[in-house]
Symmetry: C2
């Protein structure tokens, strides 16, 4: 059976694009090495028509298909299981920019395009594609769509979902839905687009998308702002949203203690924060300048001056040049992660909360963790403007790694239980994959889980698309 | 059977809330009187729990349920069919604002809340709920969600879909999905929210929603701008999006000939447009001021001055006071409709197109219409910033109404065929209902229609929710 399938797949995509000698192949594991699987073959189709043929053949053979983009996910959503039955469908050859329409502010790209390439193509047309995240040099648009990627400009431009107007999708049965619309308004039936976005390859294979573009700011003003508490950070966010209007494009929060941790762990790298106060909190904020008029500097600075005068801000530093700005953003995007990595494995959470409840969440989570695990150090930082925190726990050097790893499940449960009590989400932007699949049983509304199962049954009744991902087995047991 | 059901419904919601003497009841017709139906009863539940009970009873009895909000729809989506078998579920008693959280910028409201009431509640908390449309004094949030309402600020804030964070939904089977999240990021499974939004009561009954709020601008600057052509209007839109950044909140286009038509049809009302040039085109634009700084006037005017100098603008008038601004907006929101109404019935289209293709669409549609129906007058205006045109045809007074009505189907087909050729949508913001249901067969991708049918089958296999709406019978034949 599988030999026949392999022969037919080879006919469709060509022998050089069907890999079957897979010992140690990197695409059978996630990039962190946490998940490891096996596969019948890794297939590299070169067009939507080839993807459709692969799906028809796999569907006829009842062979599972695991779609993979840049393989930068954190929860094993693109890693096949250990059965070795699946075909891994790697879409990097679908990498054309099919169209760019500056007057309509849209770009149509194939799923295998690397995010940074799309950003660059937009910039070349004097436009902005605003999705921006750490992995942008290797993650692909298909993966961004499959996981509804977020990142640092969501408070202004939205998640991948809000940035997408149309999709081209190959169904589980190998049909092609030609849904590449470049329309801001279209109310002619059910919203299938958003059913596929965020479904992590379990409902269909996204092969192309029409995405929104935006005017490119002519400049960006950046400040590092110090406040006394998370409450004050929330007030500051409200003030800047109000006074800066649509010009506020990023609002990132760090605790001073996290910055102190970075300084201590990376002693060779000067921390770009003068007079660090570890008891304070810091916000890194971007203001987009569209007019290029020098008066923007005044509009940018006035609310900061008012906040200093009122005491809401205890300090404010404005980036004097692009180099200073880049140092702050490097600290945000890479410095904190590097500092954590010096201690090996840590326990990560990608959570979101109503913004108004973040201050009390931080107090209560710290209290509960310190009661149960007094030795742990809390790394809390992230996208306050989206209510999205990266909430990580690192071990002290004195604690053996094995003991720390033994606590992992209990730490996750403690944090996620509290997130749930606060009306939050246990996966803000990383998705579900394998890693959080069974946690959904604990935290999701049972009616919602049942509806998810019905949707899966409707679109992929044979269960060949990315089995074992997103849906707990009791919600959708598979075909 | 139906007597038993009525008795049980009465037990659940109380006798005063089950109407069965329905002769001439206005809720059995749409407000324009185009669609007329019959019903077993009109039921007014007072809570989500009562809605769930009504759905459980109706589902057990296999009785259709037609959900209705403010009954302001244009396509018969909330009007029952003529069988008289359906229960009409009117949600106006679900009208509580359940919560408002200014720090999270969210408001949680029940489906029966009137849109204008939600706008006012947001304003009272110093926030903006940006959905704004002509029917806002009577349409409800439930109807806005069911049809994914649009309106005049979509280019800045999005449609109802983009304004919604969470939903509470009663399923066809009478279960309650508690999905009222106030989160900007949540990637824990399939996007059920957007499956229900825009489904016009055919997939579930939306009973409440958590909606996004925004900072309230402290002022609004408005201009009426004259350009030579639709091409120049598209260029002007691009310029203002670029130079004004997020401050551009509305961009409405009229042809000068439409304004001349308004002046001719409403001779008692002075047209608030000086020196009207019927061969030109006019854009009504809003600029939101968030800072309150007098320098905003400069930022607002500078691109207009540049456009005048370059010749892109041939004239520009800036509103000198709120009264002048209101006159222009009244012309947009009411004047054009009033002028059309003086000639009785007209043929309306609610279409969207890629913005870049609107100029050539206008040329080609006019050519095709004039060839076939030389007597007709074209009323083209609408939300250029969203690619959404209201494209209406009015008869000359010399043409008998009956003859004009006889052309109606052919006019629709001519216009919609061209919209389809241009990659547009035949329903930008009004939905499908009964009126455009069968047109979907002509214009929708067959794979898309099949997926819609599968979704309906998954969520409402007995077909009790709003039968005969949205889905053509060949796509989903009913239970």
């Amino acid at each position: 059976m599988s030999d026949t399938l392999l022969a037919r797949l080879t006919e469709v995509v060509g022998a050089t694009h069907v890999l079957t000698e897979l010992g140690g192949h990197p695409d059978l594991a996630d990039y962190r090495g946490v998940y490891q699987g096996r596969a019948l073959a890794i297939v590299h189709p070169g067009s939507t028509a080839e993807v459709a043929s692969v799906m028809r053949l796999s569907h006829a053979a009842r062979t599972p298909v695991v779609v993979q983009g840049g393989n930068t996910g954190l929860l094993g959503g693109a890693t096949p299981d250990e059965s070795g039955r699946a075909v891994v469908l790697k879409l990097h050859r679908l990498n054309r920019v099919r169209a760019i329409d500056p007057s309509n502010d849209t770009i149509t790209v194939e799923a295998g395009c690397v995010l940074q390439h799309v950003q660059e193509q937009a910039a070349a047309a004097d436009r902005l594609f605003p999705l921006a995240l750490g992995a942008q040099g290797s993650c692909t648009i298909g993966g961004n769509l499959a996981t509804n990627a977020g990142g640092i400009q969501v408070l202004r431009y939205g998640n991948m979902r809000e940035l997408t107007l149309g999709l081209e999708v190959v169904t589980a049965q190998g049909e092609v839905w030609h849904g590449l619309r470049g329309l801001r308004k279209d109310n002619t039936g059910y919203d299938l687009r958003d059913a596929f976005i965020g479904s992590e390859g379990t409902l269909g294979v996204i092969t192309a998308a029409t995405l929104k573009l935006f005017p490119k700011p002519v400049g960006c003003l950046t400040a590092l702002l110090r406040v006394a508490s998370p409450e004050d950070a929330v007030s500051l966010l409200g003030l800047l949203r109000q006074r800066w209007g649509g010009a506020l494009t990023a609002f990132e929060l760090f605790s001073g203690s996290v910055l102190g941790f970075v300084r201590a762990r990376l002693p060779d790298k000067p921390l770009p924060v003068p007079d660090l106060d570890e008891a304070s909190w810091y916000a890194l904020v971007d203001y987009a300048d569209f007019s290029g008029d020098p008066v923007q500097q005044t509009l940018f600075e006035k609310p900061l001056a008012d906040a200093l005068e009122s005491g809401l801000l205890t300090d404010a530093t404005i980036a004097q040049n692009e180099g200073q700005r880049q140092k702050w953003w490097h600290l945000r995007e890479h410095g904190v992660m590097e500092a954590q990595a010096t201690l090996g494995r840590n326990v990560k959470h990608d959570i979101s909360l109503p913004i108004s409840r973040i201050p009390s969440f931080l107090v209560q989570s710290q209290a509960r963790l310190q009661q149960r695990f007094p030795a742990l150090f809390i790394i809390a930082y992230g996208h306050l403007g989206d209510g999205n925190l990266h909430y990580n726990l690192v071990r002290p050097e004195s604690l053996p790694l094995a003991e720390f790893i033994g606590w992992e499940d209990e730490i996750h449960e403690l944090v996620h239980d509290l997130v749930h009590e606060f009306g939050g989400s246990i996966s803000a932007e990383h998705g579900v994959g394998q890693g959080k699949r069974d946690a959904l049983l604990r935290y999701k509304d049972p009616v919602e889980l049942a509806l998810m199962g019905r949707l899966k049954q409707a679109f992929d009744p044979e269960g060949i698309l990315n089995p074992g991902k997103v849906l707990p087995a009791s919600v959708w047991p598979g075909a």
